[in-house]
């Protein structure tokens, strides 16, 4: 498969970002913030790190846009399942 020379994102920079974000997460978890602030922060940090890995390390940045449809297909289903079942008792 004669692929054109693949552009490589700055892996080391992404690695640094991931390390920093992990340290912030652990610090925030133990800094005794109230749960109402802590949980959104941690979720945001987790999503940020996860998308960093997905976009740069898994090369989603270089894939055709249509391919994202395949990648993101399961997410809405996961949300539907968890939200619907939480309705059950989450009153």
């Amino acid at each position: 498969m004669t692929t054109v020379e693949k552009k490589h994102p700055p892996y080391m920079l992404v690695w640094l970002w991931l390390a920093v974000l992990t340290i912030i997460e652990v610090w925030a978890a133990q800094a005794g913030l109230t749960r109402r602030i802590l949980i959104p922060i941690l979720i945001l940090l987790a999503i940020w790190k996860a998308s960093l890995v997905a976009i740069y390390f898994m090369h989603l940045k270089f894939e055709p846009r249509r391919f994202l449809f395949v990648v993101l297909a399961p997410l809405p289903l996961a949300v539907i399942l968890v939200v619907a079942v939480l309705q059950e008792w989450g009153k």
């Binding site: 020379e5 390390a19 996860a50 997905a54 390390f57 894939e63 968890v82 008792w89």
Partner: protein
């Protein structure tokens, strides 16, 4: 897991970029498999979220029960292993066989170390009395929680959910390490060249996915 080497399939491979989503079969197949893995972990993590926040059951505070600093280091270890995987892929795409082998060895080492730390953490927890069926009476954890006056209610489910999710993630990492060893052996035999190295990218996708799941697991299970 590399692309199939049968001659006529390679002929059709050349043509397929034109029709599909512009992604060769090996990568597309791996991404479809990763979608099913996302749904598998949805079932496990979804059940954890529902059991923890769905019912009125109180939940022991994970930061007190689990060793955060050790797992933070473990998360960092897995991120490094993910980076070394990507470096391996970058190396072979530039044709650097030696770089590929070194980075692959680093990835295997990182993955194996992660599983090792995970096993150590399990043994430590079980010794302290955190079991899939709940906290053992008189175990180290129960004493610590009662001494600190923290609620020990709802501990029956904590062990079950914790061990199931992290256990299956560990199982996926171990499978990844075994496949990585096989890929490394093939790399040492010069199987991958600058023109044909789909196998590295496909195993890399799996490895980054396992790292991605751990990032979510680490946050939800250990830090909340």
């Amino acid at each position: 897991m590399g692309a199939d080497a049968r001659p006529q399939l390679r002929m059709t491979h050349g043509r397929q970029v034109e029709y599909g989503l512009g992604v060769y079969s090996g990568k597309l197949g791996m991404w479809v498999f990763l979608c099913s893995e996302v749904m598998f972990f949805t079932a496990l993590i979804g059940a954890y979220i529902i059991l923890r926040w769905g019912s009125s059951q109180s939940w022991p505070d994970p930061t007190k029960v689990l060793n955060i600093t050790l797992t933070a280091f473990n998360t960092f270890l897995l991120i490094c292993s993910s980076v070394s995987m990507v470096k391996a892929y970058a190396a072979i795409s530039h044709g650097d066989q030696r770089g590929l082998r070194l980075w692959l060895l680093a990835t295997v080492a990182g993955g194996a170390a992660f599983v090792g730390v995970q096993v150590y953490e399990y043994l430590h927890l079980i010794h302290d009395g955190v079991l899939p069926s709940g906290f053992r009476e008189g175990g180290e954890i129960m004493e610590a929680l009662t001494r600190a006056g923290l609620p020990t209610g709802g501990h029956e489910l904590f062990g079950a959910a914790f061990f199931t999710m992290t256990g299956f993630h560990g199982f996926h990492v171990s499978c990844g390490v075994l496949c990585m060893i096989w890929v490394t052996i093939k790399a040492f035999r010069g199987h991958y060249t600058q023109a044909h190295h789909e196998g590295i990218e496909v195993i890399g996708l799996y490895w980054h996915f396992v790292d991605l799941v751990w990032i979510i697991l680490f946050t939800i299970v250990y830090l909340f």
